[in-house]
Symmetry: C2
Subunit: 324 residues, 2 copies
Amino acid sequence: MSAYAIGVDLGGTNLKAALVEREEGVVTDVSHPTRAQDGPDSIVDRLRSTVANLAEQAPAPVLGIGIGSPGAINLERTTVSHPPNLPGWEVINLRNELEAVANGCPVIVENDANVAALGSAYYGAGRPHDSFIMATLGTGVGGAVIYQNRIFRGSTGAAGEIGHMTIDYEGPLAKSGVAGAIEAYAGQQFLTHHARLRLINRPESLVYELAGENLTALTPRILFDAAEQGDAAAREIFAWVGHKLGAVLGSAVNLLDIRVIVVGGGVSAAGDYILDPARDALHDFVAEALRDGLHLVRETMGNEAGLLGAARLVFEGEDAHVGD
Amino acid sequence: MSAYAIGVDLGGTNLKAALVEREEGVVTDVSHPTRAQDGPDSIVDRLRSTVANLAEQAPAPVLGIGIGSPGAINLERTTVSHPPNLPGWEVINLRNELEAVANGCPVIVENDANVAALGSAYYGAGRPHDSFIMATLGTGVGGAVIYQNRIFRGSTGAAGEIGHMTIDYEGPLAKSGVAGAIEAYAGQQFLTHHARLRLINRPESLVYELAGENLTALTPRILFDAAEQGDAAAREIFAWVGHKLGAVLGSAVNLLDIRVIVVGGGVSAAGDYILDPARDALHDFVAEALRDGLHLVRETMGNEAGLLGAARLVFEGEDAHVGD
C-alpha cells in the first residue's frame, strides 16, 4: 500500500521539500529561496505554506512531516536552536509551528547530517550496511553514525560531529573553536584558503586560468575541473585534504569499530581525487588489528538524500529497522 | 537473595580472580603470577584450577564465569585471539576450555577495557551515569564506551579504542601503527621516554635523585613522587600528557556526544597533575556547542574494577540495565 510523508531540507540558502512515497521515493519536490535575511517568522510561514501545498498534492493523507535542519535539535526532536546560517533564529519549536498544517500527524525534526545519513541508509550508498559512519563535505564537515540500522544520537542528540574532531592538537582553529579540527582543513572556505597557499609557487597551474586569474574566486569546483584536465597542483590539493580526511575517519573507526564509511556532500563530487588518498590514510590511521573490512564509498545522491532521509524520519517510527 | 559469580582478570603479569556477590562485591580474591613464558596450555590449566577453587568456596552455586582479557575477543564473547602480552597464545576458546569447571554455567569473555568500564559503571565512578567514555592509562591507553547502560561494542566487539585515535597526523608512531595516536604520548613507555627528553635540560629536577640518577629506571610513580614534592619539571610532564589526553577525549566527545569521562588505570594515580590539564584541554577540543555538562572524573578503584566488571558480565545477562 502506498504511504506518503513530507520531507523538508531547511537550508540557509534554499528551503527544499518533497512529497515522498515510502518505496518509490520522491514523488514531487519543490525548492524556494530560504531568504534567511527576512527572519525566522517569514521562514516559518514559507515552510508552513510549502508543506500545506505538498500535502494537498498527496494522493492519500500524509503520515507525517520530517525536517532536516542545521543547528542544535533537542532530544524530543521538536525544536531547532541557533542554526548557524539563519540569523535571528533563536529557539523555535517546529512541531508547534507546523501543528495546524500537520493535522495531528507527527512532525519530527532532526539534525541535517543525521537526516542525510538516514537517506543514504535507505536509498543510497549506505543501503547494504547495518552500520556506517557518514561524513559530509560541504561548507562545513558534517557527520553522522548509523549503528545497527539506527541513528546513533548520543546523550543529547548531537552525536556524529566528525567535523570537530582534531587531527592536530596544534593545528589551525576551526569555527567550532577546536584546534586542528578536520573542518579547518576540509571545510570549503578552509580548503580554498589552503589551496591558494599551495598555489603561490605553482604559476603553471591551470587553476589560475580556470579561476580567471583571480584566486579569490576559487571554488572546489574549479579545482575539480583543473584536476580533470590533468593539473598536478589541483590533484595534490585534493590528495592533501583526502589524507587529512582519512586520518580523522581512522580515529572514528578506532573508537566506534564501524568500518564502513560513506562520504557525501558537495565537495565529495571531487570523487577519487579526494577519496583514494583518504582510503590510503584511513588504512594507516586505523590500528593494525582493526583494518579488516575497511570500506570507504561515496554517496552520489546529493540533496535528494536529505529529502528522502527527512521523510524516512516519519516512516522509521513505523519500522522495526532501517532496511528492506 | 545472594548471587555469586566468578570474575577473572587475565593479565600478562598476574592472573587474578575473585568470587563476587552481586551486591556485596568481592568476597574472596586470589592472584597468581600468569607465567606467560610457560605458554598458553599452562595458563589455561592455572585458570581452570583457580576458578574451580573459588567455585568450591562459594556458599551457593556460582551463576557463571566472566573473564576480562587483553587481545581480540570475538562477537560471541568466547574466544581470545593473540593477546599481546601472552606469547604463543594464538586463538583459544575459553568457553570450551572452562566447560568442565563451569558445570553448564555461562562463561563470558570480554575485552579488559570494556570489563573495567563495566566495573566502574556498577561499582565505581561511572555509577551515577547512564553513558560515559572510559579511558585507562597503563602500559597502553585503553578505552571503552558505556552508552545507555550498556557496553558499546561496535561491529566486531572492538569499539572504544581511544588509545589508537590520533591527535597529530604527523606525530610519533604508536605500536598500533598509527601516527600521533594518544598511546604514543601517554602509554607508559612513551610517557617515560618523552619525560627523559624533557628532563635533559632540567638538571635541578628532583626526578634525578628519586630515580637514582639513572633515568633509564624512570617510572610514572617516580614522576608522581617528584610532583608531590613540588618538582616543577615533573608537574610540567604530567601537564604535557594531560593536555594531549584532553585533546583525544575531546575528539571522542564530539563524535559520541557522551560528555562524562572516567579515567582509570595505573598512571591515572597521578590524579589532578594529569587530570586538571586534561579537563582544560577537553573543554578546548570539544566544539563550543557541545561544552555544557562536560565532566571528567577519576576511577579510583584500581584492579578491583576488572574483577567486579568481569563478574558483572554474568549478572548483566540477568539485568535489564546496568545500575541499581
